[in-house]
Subunit: 194 residues, 4 copies
């Protein structure tokens, strides 16, 4: 990569970082393109050299967010075989990602797809893509016959994402929260060992 291309990438990334940060913190509508430009140390019009519309910017942030959280999850899962331990690893990676100061994945939770009606469909697809990855892990869990696997997934995701509202650094860490979360469900739902 040439020095020029390097710098170019840096600027795009700077814009993207700034956008992610603002979207995650204040919301999509609440963020102005001027906010983003200022945070990226650019002038208002300059953003549009790199992104055609504000919607496109959100889409790019979403894509990067999904890439990051899927990567994190994939890595976490890679060398774990036991289903419940796998779920815990996933939740730990999930929480670490959506609670990290790096904003991309936080946007996935904070900004609802219909904040940008024109691209709502694409945003939903991105969310779904990730959700399916998590579902695959849930699907491997050995559950008591009467358990509703679908509800389990929805409850767990709801509980996990809600941390974004209340979590502050303190005694609990993403890791301990993930452990507790999985433990609570596992206790009632795990199939009896044969």
């Amino acid at each position: 990569m040439t020095a020029v291309a390097q710098r170019a990438n840096n600027r795009v990334e700077a814009v993207l970082d700034a956008a992610a940060e603002h979207f995650a913190t204040k919301g999509f509508k609440e963020t102005t393109t001027r906010d983003i430009a200022a945070a990226a140390d650019m002038l208002p019009g300059s953003i549009y050299y790199h992104f055609a519309t504000k919607d496109d910017l959100l889409l790019a942030v979403y894509e990067e967010g999904v890439r990051r959280i899927e990567d994190a999850v994939e890595t976490a899962v890679s060398d774990i075989e036991a289903p419940w331990e796998q779920l815990e690893a996933v939740m730990r990676a999930h929480l670490e990602t959506i609670l990290s100061p790096t904003a991309y994945a936080r946007v996935l939770i904070r900004v609802l797809p219909d904040s940008a009606p024109k691209i709502a469909g694409q945003l939903k697809s991105l969310r779904d893509s990730y959700e399916r990855r998590v579902a695959a892990v849930v699907d491997r869990l050995p559950l008591r016959p009467e358990a509703d696997r679908n509800l389990l997934r929805l409850f767990i995701m709801g509980a996990a994402n809600h941390t974004q509202v209340w979590y502050r650094p303190g005694p609990h860490t993403p890791a301990t929260i993930a452990a507790e979360l999985v433990r609570m469900f596992r206790g009632s739902l795990e199939a009896e060992a044969a």
Copy 2:
């Protein structure tokens, strides 16, 4: 109440209903005062006869929303003594309220307090007020010693509120969801009977 005052109230309520509906469905920023006026069958300026600002409208909706959900919970809890059954009743009332087409309480979940920075503090207080009511019910649960009561509450609320994103009328109802939700946690956390 005089007939005139009655009519006045009707207009205020019409505005409030319209605002709640739109806030719950599209979000605060995404809703224009014109949207609300049109839905209340008024002209744009007329809203300001009843409410000084758009923020005030949101505050009023929040207040009404808290009132309603607290009422629902209070009623649900009133003649149940057993702690876990009480929690289930609370969750049932909670879900029925935030999933009901009547929009007030839905706004509590959908619209984050910092959508309106100037009144964010007041909005948070209102949310907290309700959250404390639920906490009181959680506090009565007999839990195993190692269980984290605080996390339990946050997980449950997260899981419950998340229904707003995925719930569609179908085989599950707020009642069955509440039952499942409480059952899952109870199984792992309930203290052994003496």
Copy 3:
């Protein structure tokens, strides 16, 4: 009409007048909505209370322009029976209208339909409507058999509209120009009297 409605109409007309004046003089793209607002003694946003878009404004001006020039032509033609005299009357009315300081009809000639791609079709329809009215008059002319009626109409309209580029008040008036114009074509094209 109430006094209020009267004032309202006045404001709409003021906007329309200002828009017509600017469109006719500087062109559509070259005119800013701020120009129009200033000329109508309003603030930039105020125009949008009356017209949804700048395109709509152009459409309204076009409509009024067609209405005026068609009225003028209709009146001119009404009590004349002789075909060539009728054509002269039409051309006189046409020239008086497109050269008058009142700008509406001038816009029809000056602003091409594809200045506003989204409404180009509607603008063309409006032009065509008028063009057909003129064609009806041309169709009544008794011409030598070898004459091309269609070309005649196109030449006459071209010559007439071009006055907008060169005409300045002076010895010639719309009336004398119309007379000359028709005379030039009539001499070569009129069918021999039986």
Copy 4:
């Protein structure tokens, strides 16, 4: 001319061709410098290596347009002596040029001088230069004493230029149109042979 200078000329010509094409088709304001750059297979900034401003580009196109149409007219007129036949040859050359897909001369008709206020004077001069050449031909016509030579010229030019609006390839060609046009005026205006 060196090979380098040759290539340089090629680039200038490419820009000019692209500009002419776009100005003629969409208008001056409606064309962006990016449109032109793209059509010339360059990057946005590169145009400015060859032309200082967008206005300069228009000026250059105008100049080339005048050069071409004057050349065409000069050639057409060169070996014809009879005045009316000369006029027909001029009109044929004129129409062929302003209707040809090669865009330079089309711009002269399509883009009004005050599209670019700063150079409007120069653009008008260029137009006038050509107009005078045509006037010289009209001046040679033997006309009846009462005919207005000036109006004749203006009518003819108006009718001819208007073809740009309505002409589509079909039964008529520039040549047949020119013939008809001159015939129509000649019939009424030609002085009686002595």
